[in-house]
């Protein structure tokens, strides 16, 4: 009873202690989360090709330009409030034959920001098919339109032709822009689905930035796809952009990570190291996804290893595959076994390779997620609670009982 009384007084005290420990932490976390998610609105920049070829009448019997204008009007009407929309044109102003002038013909039609629907639609209505198709140049301009905004940035490129300027290669430009740490994706919509070169170039741009390529068949599809992309951007605003880090070449001077999502770049054949502090009674969980953002060889793999400070392997995750893929991913878990806090090294390596012609730098995008959870409760027996199941243990128990009864009866008879 004395123990019981102590319990009775200790318990509420313990509850209060736990509450005071957890609630301030909760309040802080929560405030931080809402503060972060509300801050940067997603930005979408529509880049429209207004080159001479947009005069062709091959979409639903109208010109490509008319189809694009109609789709733009509907998208501007339906754009969610929280999305900041901008419009940029390429090939809208210079009708001449001078390649030097034609290939720097890209201008901001509507600045990226909250949309004034009437103004935006009026601006779109003034466009007439005119000049060249400087896609690479326009992409660079489109990124500049965003300013130094921190949130999600999405470029939607609508074009009917391949880059008519050659240099810079729009695909390389897209990869370079995506790697410059701006959380950028480029979605491409091709108005000439039958043209192999256009498809190749546009799907390359999309692949390089983790975006999508659509072969537009009709006005309805163009409108739906544009709306879908804008809506998706609005929905995904709750997803925090990963923190950009740079892993080091060996464990000793690797960046020390806490739980969260990180983004890095890794070239072919490179190994990247990161460190995590692991307290006793905790489990380290790590997951890595490496994106194939360029034309890589068809067989590939990824390896994630957890090492201790002497380089001994603690856990590993590996995956291999072949065929078309966007990412290859693997993960590992490692419950702390030591009584003291230890530093665990994470090593990421891949077996991606590519033909000589493929650009090496910047490296492949790596998404690393680190999480720390309570350590698991390892079982003392494989079966739940060590309990038996099935006819064999039932018969065994019965026979054992029978033998014990017989023995007891026999003993009683003797003594």
């Amino acid at each position: 009873m004395i123990i019981g009384r102590r319990f009775a007084t200790a318990l509420p005290a313990a509850f209060v202690a736990v509450l005071t420990c957890t609630f301030p932490a909760y309040a802080d976390e929560h405030a931080g989360a809402s503060g972060e998610t509300e801050a940067p609105p997603p930005q979408v920049n529509l880049v429209l090709d207004v080159s001479g070829s947009m005069r062709e009448k091959d979409i639903d019997g109208g010109t490509r330009m008319a189809a694009a204008q109609q789709a733009f009007n509907e998208v501007i009407d339906a754009v969610p409030e929280e999305v900041h929309l901008g419009i940029r044109t390429l090939g809208a102003d210079y009708p001449g034959d001078d390649i030097a002038k034609g290939c720097v013909d890209s201008a901001q039609l509507y600045p990226v920001g909250p949309v004034d629907r009437t103004e935006a639609k009026t601006a779109v209505a003034t466009l007439r098919p005119t000049g060249w198709t400087p896609i690479g140049y326009a992409l660079r301009g489109a990124v500049e339109d965003f300013g130094d905004h921190e949130g999600t940035r999405r470029i939607v490129l609508i074009t009917d032709g391949e880059d008519s300027c050659g240099e810079p290669d729009p695909c390389d430009v897209a990869r370079e822009l995506a790697a410059s740490g701006t959380h950028l994706t480029v979605d491409t919509l091709g108005l000439t689905p039958a043209d192999d070169k256009v498809r190749e170039q546009l799907s390359c741009i999309a692949e390089a930035t983790g975006g999508t390529y659509t072969a537009v068949q009709d006005t309805g599809q163009l409108t739906e796809r544009l709306k879908q992309i804008v809506d998706q951007t609005a929905d995904n605003v709750v997803i925090e952009n990963p923190t950009i880090i740079e892993g080091s070449g060996d464990c000793a001077d690797a960046p020390l990570l806490t739980a969260g999502v990180y983004h890095d770049r890794e070239e072919f054949g490179e190994h990247r190291f990161y460190r995590v502090q692991l307290a006793p009674g905790r489990e380290l969980r790590a997951s890595v996804s490496v994106a194939a953002d360029r034309a890589v060889d068809p067989d590939y793999g990824v390896l994630l290893r957890a090492l201790d400070d002497t380089g001994r392997e603690l856990a590993r995750g590996s995956e291999a595959g072949h065929g078309r893929t966007d990412v290859i991913s693997t993960g590992l878990r490692y419950p702390a076994t030591e009584d003291a806090e230890a530093t665990v090294c994470l090593e990421v390596s891949t077996s991606f390779s590519a033909p000589e012609s493929v650009q090496r730098a910047p490296g492949l995008p790596v998404e690393l997620t680190v999480d720390l959870a309570a350590a698991p409760d390892a079982p003392s027996d494989v079966a739940a609670h060590g309990l038996a199941r099935g006819w064999v243990p039932l018969v065994l128990l019965t026979v054992t009982g029978l033998l014990a009864g017989l023995l007891w009866g026999a003993l009683r008879r003797i003594f």
């Binding site: 689905p193 925090e240 990180y262 590992l332 409760d377």
Partner: protein
């Protein structure tokens, strides 16, 4: 499960103030017994958390049964479940992701039906595939179903499915067994003729599960389901003394983190982990009863002869 038990410390002082001191004293042993029971029963504390999360989960589920749109990567995956299907209007070449929760003791089957692009626009045979990944994005094996299929040029639809092995409540860290937590479903065209890129198609995804029964009830339990954080990370700037100090704080932060971020999956209806009950109790108890009966019968058999 004794869900209300952990709540007792709070309501108890309320009625106590209105009663006499003697009654208070008389009630105390009973209260203490309940309290100790609440402490001793291993599932009591999680049960409180469970019921709380289930409430919030079901509240959102009842209001939203429209099919969830697919995401384009792991982190933007559309959240589906047994009561919510997924749908997608996409273009071939896209990678479509959905995510759903799964608890221990269940065997999950994911089914995807693809309405292929217009055969008139397609070039040749394309291979479509569903891949299932666990919460750590480790690819999981399909023990049943048809996870990959080749559509010949005239086919209009394609049915794919994948049945996972039974989800275990615990596994050694070097094993790849499916564990409770978030699962990801990815739909991909793994082999696609070049000219088929970017053509519109539609897909629908559904997830169902069956209870695996007592034969799959194994010991052990994960500390937390495999649901990775989706927050942006921050570098540890050196002063690690504070973070390593209190275990409760760390745990609370993890849980709140999951709750505050809507992209992660809700807890499944039956919970992440099965309760203490398994039909192994019945089998073992039945064995004990039979043994006792056999022992009495044996004893009487031998004694009657004497």
């Amino acid at each position: 499960m004794p869900t209300p038990l952990p709540l007792l410390p709070f309501p108890a002082p309320g009625p106590a103030t209105t009663t006499t001191a003697r009654r208070h004293r008389r009630r105390r042993p009973a209260l203490l017994a309940l309290l100790t029971a609440a402490l001793l029963l291993p599932g009591a504390a999680p049960a409180l958390a469970d019921s709380h999360e289930e409430d919030s989960g079901s509240a959102t589920d009842t209001t939203d049964t429209t099919p969830a749109a697919a995401g384009t990567d792991f982190r933007s995956a559309g959240v589906i479940g047994e009561d919510r299907t997924g749908s997608a209007v996409a273009v071939s070449g896209d990678y479509l992701y959905w995510t759903f929760p799964a608890g221990a003791g269940r065997q999950i089957t994911a089914e995807v039906s693809v309405t292929l692009p217009d055969p008139a626009l397609r070039g040749g045979a394309a291979t479509w595939q569903v891949d299932l990944y666990d919460g750590l994005r480790r690819r999981q094996p399909c023990v049943g179903g048809e996870p990959a299929a080749t559509a010949d040029p005239s086919a209009a639809t394609l049915e794919l499915s994948c049945t996972l092995p039974v989800i275990r409540p615990w596994a050694d860290s070097w094993e790849n067994d499916p564990l409770p937590g978030a699962y990801y479903l990815r739909l991909t065209a793994t082999e696609l003729p070049e000219e088929e890129l970017g053509l519109p198609f539609e897909a629908e995804a559904a997830v169902s599960s069956r209870a695996a029964g007592g034969s799959a009830d194994i010991g052990g339990r994960l500390g937390a389901p495999l649901v990775l954080t989706s927050r942006a990370g921050s570098l540890d700037t050196g002063s690690t003394d504070e973070s390593s100090g209190s275990e409760e704080n760390n745990g609370a932060e993890d849980e709140q983190g999951e709750e505050a971020v809507p992209a992660t999956v809700p807890e499944p209806e039956d919970g992440w982990f099965a309760g203490w009950w398994t039909d192994r109790w019945a089998w073992t108890a039945a064995g004990g009863l039979l043994a006792a009966a056999a022992a009495i019968a044996g004893f009487r058999l031998v004694r009657r002869r004497s």
